[in-house]
């Protein structure tokens, strides 16, 4: 058997050293995994199949370890303390990636944005916190340059502006895969900075859970899910709801220029938010092929409170989204060949009632993706064809806008002894814009627990409808825009040794023809392909269990050093840092689980950043501490009580990158019962 670096090193603490040595690192399981993926249910398409997934190998070891510890009452934290830097991201096994297990943060009031922010290379832009808009930047790319997928289905709207991560109910999440780098060849155009794939909980044969909580600022949350069998099929239904008054106190400076640091106390108003969601997942074997169905609906409303210097007490927003995906997959007519087809559709709406004008935005997409995977000698070939139509309607666009997206892609994972090489190429037509993406990645096991991975690629992002056609207020359109282009490469060394996982890597990316809004007259902005920027970074990630037997102590951290440089522009901008790109980001977490009690403490630090390309306005550094306590009340029904405290030091002067106040200390009390079982448990 040819030995080959496995696709990843899953990082469940219990499965670290023993499970990842030997056969689990050989090519055969990896290719078996790939084949399994090809015939696996829909949600496995992008992330992995438990039966053959290296992660599941780890889980098996974890299970064994769990059985040894069966007499120890534990909470989630003790079971899953580490991270899976590349685990289960089977679609691109050589990518720089982090997998964030939601169960690791069970009982904490963390939404998608906060979970994603624990990964290196990632910056989350909050617009007020507490149920309000959050967008993501990866490796310095704008939120438009990050693809966000929900169970593999793209959420990015053709309207543009990035995906609001706050629109995805946190209770649905099983894990989040953060893939960093120019990933257009694998995931499609638009992934200049990277990809975030949000994986909802899978349909298991049985089980259910219930979660109820309440906390500061009139915040309430409730969620439940149930899985059951219907004949040979398994069905999972889930629902969630959360609401907040959002009327938190904050401190601001009415006279920021006079040198007097005295702040004035205010209370946020028109800052309420509410959201409901429901999910249906079906996994139905139809003889040999398998049919997977995922249906999701989510809706929300929120106030738009405005900046402290210009409050908007009457501005409101409502939004809704429905998503349906059906996937049929099964073996092909030849040995080693697997076929799959996914039909998906998404509709969404966003209503804004604002002093600057009302907007009624409607959009949707429908498409079909077909895929063939062929496992051969030393590799796996994946060929796919995608076709979809994207439609957006908004008065500010002038008329209903639609475009056809066609894509053809091919990717190969070749196993050459300890070396895994993954070339990929994709050609796309997005409306009138043609483009291609390519990537070459490689993983090499050097010695023992040390491995090396590197990749490089290029891709593009087609202009959004808002950039092409939006005319509203001070913004004018530019229908002559061309796609942005990204070229990048990265390399990292990974040490995966028993209770320690560490990864250190660097990357460099060049973004060209960036679409930036420029003044074309006083008070008028228009987008142009005027930007060019260089982004370089160091990304570090470490997770360890130094004293697992002693109170289950677990430590993890991620750090990003991001250096950005504007390469094209006026004399007062060339050589400057990109706006809203902090140079340093640090996330660190310590947790312990002495007996039935779980504790955690974490810190987020974001260094100062500039507010403009001229690097004149400074956004100060911010450091936020969070903490939590959990108590297992009943092992029989897995009933646990969680207290989650955020912004522990009650910094009421905290602001987001745009000067909007963020909440001070908030407390959430949560009671959970039932499955999902903690990670690694049967």
């Amino acid at each position: 058997m040819v030995r080959c670096l496995t696709f990843s090193g899953p990082k469940e603490t219990r499965g670290l050293a023993p499970s990842l040595s030997g056969p689990a690192r050989a090519c055969a399981p990896a290719l078996a995994l790939a084949l399994a993926l090809a015939v696996a249910p829909l949600r496995v398409l992008a992330e992995g199949e438990p039966r053959a997934d290296p992660a599941s190998v780890a889980s098996t070891a974890a299970d064994a370890a769990a059985s040894r510890d069966a007499d120890l009452p534990t909470l989630d934290e003790i079971v899953v303390v580490g991270r899976r830097p590349r685990g289960q991201v089977a679609r691109d096994p050589t990518a720089s990636a982090t997998v964030i297990e939601a169960s690791r943060f069970a009982g904490e009031a963390k939404g998608v944005a906060e979970l994603v922010a624990t990964a290196p290379g990632v910056a989350v832009n909050d617009y007020g916190g507490l149920g309000h808009v959050s967008t993501i930047s990866i490796r310095g790319a704008s939120s438009d340059g990050v693809l966000v997928l929900l169970d593999g289905i793209p959420l990015n709207s053709a309207f543009g502006g990035g995906v609001d991560l706050g629109s995805i109910p946190r209770n649905w999440i099983e894990r989040i895969e953060v893939v960093r780098g120019v990933e257009g060849a694998v995931y499609g155009a638009g992934a200049l900075g990277g990809v975030v794939n949000i994986v909802t909980r899978r349909a298991t044969a049985s089980g259910g859970s219930l979660e109820l909580g309440g906390g500061s600022f009139g915040s309430w949350t409730g969620a439940g899910d149930r899985a059951f069998a219907v004949g040979a099929a398994t069905v999972r239904i889930a629902a969630s709801a959360e609401t907040t008054r959002g009327d938190f106190p904050y401190r601001w400076d009415p006279t920021p220029n006079d040198g007097d640091p005295t702040l004035t106390a205010e209370k946020r108003s028109n800052n309420d938010a509410a959201r409901v969601g429901a999910l249906l997942a079906v996994n139905a074997p139809l003889g040999t092929p398998v049919l997977d169905v995922v249906a999701q609906v989510a809706a929300g409303r929120r106030g738009l409170p405005g900046s402290p210097y210009s409050l908007t007490p009457d501005d409101r927003q409502r939004e809704g989204r429905a998503l349906l995906a059906l996937r049929l997959s099964g073996p092909g007519p030849a040995a080693g060949l697997a076929l799959g087809a996914t039909a998906s559709g998404r509709i969404e709406g966003l209503d804004t009632d604002a002093t600057t004008g009302d907007a009624r935005q409607r959009g949707g997409t429908a498409g079909l993706e077909t895929e063939a995977r062929w496992t051969h000698g030393v590799g796996l070939l994946r060929v796919a064809l995608d076709a979809r139509e994207e439609v957006v309607q908004d008065a500010s666009l002038g008329e209903r806008r639609a475009r056809i997206v066609l894509a053809a892609s091919a990717a190969e994972d070749v196993c050459l002894g300890p070396l895994l090489v993954s070339p990929a190429v994709r050609a796309e037509r997005i409306g009138p814009h043609d483009g291609w993406s390519a990537k070459l990645g490689a993983s090499l096991r050097l010695a023992g627990p040390v491995s090396l991975r590197a990749s490089g690629g290029r891709s593009f992002r087609a202009p959004s409808f808002s950039e092409l056609f939006l005319r509203q207020g001070i913004v004018a359109p530019n229908p002559n825009l061309v796609p942005e282009e990204g070229i990048g490469g990265d390399a990292a060394v990974v040490i995966d040794a028993g209770p320690v996982y560490a990864s250190a890597g660097g990357h460099s990316a060049l973004y060209r023809d960036l679409i930036v809004y420029q003044p074309v007259s006083f008070g008028q902005l228009r987008p142009f392909n005027a930007g060019k920027a260089l982004v370089q970074a160091l990304e570090l990630e470490v997770a360890t269990i130094p004293l697992r037997q002693a109170a289950g102590l677990a430590l993890s951290a991620s750090y990003t050093l991001l250096a950005t440089q504007i390469l094209r522009g006026a004399a007062d901008t060339v050589g400057n840092e990109l706006a809203h790109r902090a140079r340093h980001r640090l996330y660190a977490r310590a947790s312990a689980a002495p007996g039935p009690v779980g504790l955690h403490l974490e810190v987020h630090h974001v260094s100062r950043q500039y507010a403009d390309a001229q690097n004149l306005g400074l956004i100060p550094a911010a450091t936020v501490w969070n903490a939590g306590v959990s108590l297992l009340l009943s092992r029989v029904h897995a009933v646990s009580l969680h207290v989650d405290v955020r912004n522990l030091l009650d910094d009421r002067a905290l602001q987001d990158a745009f000067g909007y106040p963020l909440p001070g200390r908030s407390v959430l009390l949560l009671v959970r019962a039932g499955s999902p079982a903690p990670e690694g448990r049967p």
């Binding site: 920021p256 090396l452 590197a454 370089q536 050589g575």
Partner: protein, 506 residues
């Protein structure tokens, strides 16, 4: 690993080339943008400098005005003892060439520089000190080189000095961000800069001295004015009035009424120790919680403030303009824009704007709803209610903005960027010899959207809101001269220019 890092390094280096974008008509030379047509250090091409007695004209070095050509060499016949008065007319070896008469003299009653006899207070080639030559267009006054006017060029982040005929007069003065208002105090021009980061630039009139800038919060400073040796700056982004010392220190910052709802302070001027601040408010549709009012700020404590012993002022009252009879048409709102105090009264332009007609501006008050209005405030003194009278500016004036006074005539700039047919470009004179002021015959300034107005000497100047041009006019003869492009166009295909303000150098 090492080789991969090397690949990364190569990739980084290969992609590091920087591309400097210059304003249209300018070229990157040595990392800065210059006009090869006029720059004396880069005349015609980068690094090609002109001689001391030469200027760069259309990219060619030529003798400066007043300089003669002797044997193919530019020669100063007023100061060159070897060519005094005429080519080859050499003064005696101990004599001087007198600049004022271009004759040889044995004694120099004024200042001697080498073998020329000059007045260093006024001599453009020896201004302040021997050998210190003023740039083309500058004049030497009081021993310092001065331009006659300064123009705020918003799009290219600079203040451009010009002579009275609007020709260039020395190097452009960079500002950290777009300057949109100017004032003069002492020996410096002060620029209030807006987007993207608010700041106040201190630009010494003599360009020998370096410019400095003070950052302020926000991104929109609307107005700056000097009064009793302090600067009053309206900070629209944060809704405050900033009181600054001439050195740039913030003495106090005063929140305007309804600060948290965006009062958007614009113009300001002082009458009787009270500052009147135009609170424009938001041009977006919605209720009028803040703005469309005047704020009265009592500055009687300013001396104590300057001495560091008390506050600079306090907000005394808010004078709502909504509902004031005649302040706006039924479909319009009385947005107050600029303020001018003279002869004991305060004049405020009211824009009288309605919602726009187009899909993209239908929720913004941008369209002239009817005639422009002028609010005339007669201060009643501390504690008493002022008298407020509204003057209809007539059919010829829509969307009134800037104000300036020339003698007893008040001039109002009228015009609209988006709706020129409803507000044609005119300058409207009003006689202040009677009360209320009487509207005169409008002076048409075709081809521009009138912006700010200044009177420098006998000349009037008005900027164009739609370009980098400035128009000179004679208020006495009512002559309008052709517009002159002063402000460069910003880089790229999206470039634009905006001559945001004009100020007279003392």
């Amino acid at each position: 690993m090492r080789s991969l890092l090397a690949v990364l390094a190569i990739l980084s280096l290969a992609s590091c080339s920087k591309e400097l974008l210059c304003p249209q008509g300018e070229t990157a030379c040595g990392g800065r943008c210059v006009s090869l047509a006029t720059d004396t250090a880069n005349c015609g091409s980068c690094g090609r400098s002109v001689g001391r007695l030469e200027v760069c004209s259309a990219g060619v070095a030529t003798c400066a005005p007043g300089i003669a050509l002797c044997g193919g060499v530019c020669t100063d016949l007023s100061r060159d003892a070897a060519n005094c008065g005429s080519c080859a007319n050499t003064c005696a070896s101990t004599d001087f060439c007198t600049a004022s008469s271009a004759t040889c003299t044995s004694t120099c009653a004024a200042d001697a520089c080498d073998r020329s006899c000059v007045d260093r207070q006024t001599d453009r080639y020896n201004c302040g000190s021997c050998g210190h030559a003023c740039a083309a267009g500058e004049t030497c006054r009081g021993g310092a080189c001065h331009a006659d006017l300064a123009v705020a060029c918003y799009a290219t982040n600079e203040v451009v000095p010009v002579a009275t005929d609007l020709t260039p007069a020395g190097a452009h003065r960079p500002t950290p961000s777009g300057p949109d208002a100017l004032t003069v105090l002492g020996s410096a021009i002060y620029a209030a800069n807006g987007y993207p980061q608010a700041s106040v630039s201190i630009l010494p009139l003599d360009p020998v001295f370096a410019a400095t800038a003070v950052n302020l919060s926000g991104s929109d400073l609307e107005h700056i004015t000097a009064w009793q040796n302090v600067l009053l700056v309206t900070n629209a982004s944060v809704g405050t009035l900033v009181v600054m010392s001439p050195g740039g220190a913030v003495l106090e910052e005063l929140p305007m009424p309804d600060q948290t709802f965006g009062p958007n302070p614009h113009g300001i001027d002082v009458a009787g120790g009270v500052a009147y601040v135009a609170l424009y408010g938001s041009s977006a549709s919605g209720d009028v919680t803040a703005g469309q009012a005047l704020a009265k700020v009592d500055l009687s404590t300013l001396p104590a403030c300057v001495a560091g012993t008390g506050p600079c002022g306090s907000v005394e009252a808010k004078m709502p303009l909504v509902g004031v009879t005649g302040a706006a048409d039924a479909s319009g709102r009385p947005f107050p824009s600029e303020v001018l105090a003279t002869a004991g009264r305060v004049y405020v332009t009211l824009a009288n704007l309605a919602l726009g007609d187009n899909p993209w501006d239908a929720t913004y008050y941008v369209k002239p709803a009817g005639h422009g209005r002028l609010a005339v405030v007669t201060p009643a003194g501390p504690g008493a209610a002022d008298d407020l009278t509204v003057v209809d500016l007539g059919t010829s004036c829509g969307n009134p903005g800037a104000l300036a006074v020339d003698g007893t005539t008040l001039w109002v700039a009228c015009g609209s960027f988006g709706y020129p047919s409803l507000a044609p470009p005119v300058l409207l004179p009003l006689s202040l010899t009677s009360y209320p002021p009487v509207v005169g015959t409008p002076l048409s300034v075709p081809g521009i959207v009138p912006g700010k107005i200044a009177f420098c000497g006998s000349g009037g100047y008005v900027t164009d809101q739609a370009s980098g041009a400035v128009v000179q006019f004679d208020p006495a003869t009512r002559t309008v001269y052709p517009s002159v492009v002063v402000c460069p166009t910003s880089p790229g295909p999206y470039g634009y220019a905006w001559a945001a303000d004009v100020a007279c150098a003392p």
